[in-house]
Symmetry: C2
């Protein structure tokens, strides 16, 4: 903490002066235009309007905000339908993928009643699973992936023991955009009487709109729950997550009684929670519909293909064929290249295995991709 910084609060400051100060901070933030390192994007215009409309709504006290609550319920219905759910599905809108994954594993742990239990996650799982293991006091076992960066089902099965609570599969891995072999994992989960959680935080709003894709969602027998993040490819505002349980009774393992509120109990990890982000997510889904989402995903996939062929022409290979709008590249002198790209305003990231990682989000355009390709070629020259 900076000494004396707190004195900033002493006297108060004129409304306009505070806003001018905020504008100066805002100038330090990057625009998304040249960001290829993030799974977040500019919210859709309708998301921003909807967010503002419900800014003060608290879904933690739904009796006061029945309109916002109805919006949440309709949103869950739409997402359940998108992800192969039927009438038994229950869920809620979370603060994002981490909360969704925490709550899925917590429900499994509580339902299984296994002490000192473990879960098996792919080596490719998001770093938040380390956080979850610590939080829930559950051991996190990591199964290696195959040559295509998808988890090896045999390796998963070998890690199962009598303290295993569940398995996690990723539909749209953070680093490679791959889809784990969900059907094979579901078969293993069924055979061993284990829960199976699908983390589709990124893939949930991509995979259903691809021209073809392997089964990955609640329609696969053996899948217990699924995470989907509206604030990623759902183009909603932060913090917007979603969690669905195929067997809705699993939600009851997250129940906390809520005296002195308008509800009797709550399932969310947080107490007070935003109605604004629920409205934002609802508005995007309702406005775009499946057709609108398909157009956006098509465009991202076209840009990904362009980036892939452009980099190939420049002699830069990919360790794996992109299944969605995430492209990884084998780049020599990676740190130096990233530094050079940064000087031109580009932000890219790196996988744990040392590949350059590019996420091709809706805020990008074909001309931006051309410009990036040109700068990447320059940056990789000696």
């Amino acid at each position: 903490m900076r000494r004396g910084a707190g004195k900033m609060m002493e006297e108060g400051m004129a409304f306009e002066d505070v806003l001018a100060e905020l504008e100066r901070f805002k100038e330090q933030d990057l625009k998304y235009t040249r960001i290829l390192s993030s799974m977040c994007t500019d919210p859709h215009p309708i998301a921003k309007i909807a967010h503002r409309l419900f800014l003060e709504a608290n879904l933690g006290d739904p009796g006061l905000f029945p309109g916002a609550k109805a919006i949440e319920e309709r949103t869950i219905s739409m997402i359940a339908d998108l992800l192969g759910g039927d009438d038994t599905v229950r869920g809620y809108l979370t603060t994002g993928g981490t909360e969704s994954n925490i709550q899925a594993i917590r429900a499994f742990r509580n339902a299984a009643q296994i002490r000192d239990g473990n879960i098996i996650v792919p080596q490719s799982a998001h770093f938040s699973f380390d956080k979850i293991g610590d939080l829930l006091a559950v051991e996190v076992r990591k199964a290696p992936f195959d040559a295509s960066f998808r988890v090896d089902p045999d390796a998963v099965e070998e890690l199962i023991d009598d303290r295993t609570i569940g398995i996690v599969a990723i539909a749209g891995t953070t680093e490679y955009g791959q889809i784990d072999p969900i059907e094979a994992l579901a078969e293993i989960a069924r055979r061993n009487n284990l829960f199976l959680h699908v983390d589709a935080a990124f893939g949930g709003f991509v995979i259903p709109f691809l021209d073809s894709h392997p089964p990955f969602d609640l329609s696969v027998e053996g899948v217990s729950s699924i995470t989907i993040d509206p604030h990623k490819m759902g183009m909603s505002t932060i913090p917007s997550g979603g969690l669905l349980f195929k067997d809705g009774t699993l939600l009851d393992f997250l129940s906390t009684p809520t005296p002195y509120l308008t509800s009797k109990n709550q399932f969310s990890l947080t107490g007070t929670r935003s109605g604004a982000t629920a409205a934002s997510t609802y508005a995007v889904l309702r406005h775009l519909g499946r057709r609108g989402f398909k157009q956006i995903v098509d465009r991202c996939m076209q840009m990904t293909a362009k980036l892939r062929s452009g980099t190939e022409s420049a002699g830069i290979t990919s360790p794996v064929e992109p299944m969605m709008n995430v492209l990884t590249l084998e780049v020599a002198n990676l740190e130096q290249v990233i530094e050079r790209l940064a000087q031109s305003g580009w932000r890219v990231s790196v996988t744990r295995d040392g590949f350059m990682r590019l996420v091709i989000m809706p805020h990008l355009t074909e001309p931006i991709i051309d410009e990036f390709l040109s700068d990447l070629e320059d940056a990789t020259k000696d």
Copy 2:
């Protein structure tokens, strides 16, 4: 889940039609004007503008949003200064009181390295501590309160054993607005070498501005950490919480490495998190300053006193003298009275001990208090 509801997403819907639909849902939500049951309020006007300005900023990836990150750091400094912190304080902006309390107890648990540990919380503690016990696999022991609804320090001490990790004290209880005897609890914590967390989710932006108050914050020797909620009396937007550790190294027990992001590790429970709410909190603190907050708290306390004397005149007694802007009342036929008040648009709540509970937030005014008093008198007549 409603069958076929998901079909709502099928074709998409015109921008204006979606907004018109949202407006209809919005009409179902209550305005705060007649809400006396909630610790949330309408955000301050400057909070709304600041929120909008940083809507797309993600503090989970701070290298992309250095302006929003600087705002968070300055906000933590201001709050630390407000709550008696010095240069060793570290913390971050959370999604609210529940996340702050989870993370404080998690840090204690990880630092203490006690297996199957327990924490001792006041009987008056917020229901979220039950959630926290389940989440972190920590036993939650509840200490009874005395006649003034403050925890009894002797009862706390009796519950300590060799598996106790820490003690929780409440500065501004959700139900009675009371302040636990923090100095006595701190003495017990020091003597038993335990952590002490102060939950000032509600009181953090009230107590410092009261004309007089007992010591309650990081300035008390033995207090390890404190929760404060900007989205309650801080008049910021949802979700806005704050968590401060007096010894900043405790924060490191929450660290998760973050590959493929612009940061090396993160301390927050969520991954992607809002820069908008940080800007919102910052703007309110900077604009109001201590003087502005004092005016608002003074006004809330005056309205509380008015409500107190008005109810007394009507023969309605309070079980305890209000220490802040929360008033509880002994009301016969409580359910019927609440129902009658609801018919006039009022929302009040109930403590677990069966008293009527009123929270006197900044969205109320003296004329509204007069109107409420009149309706309450009517509702309590046979």
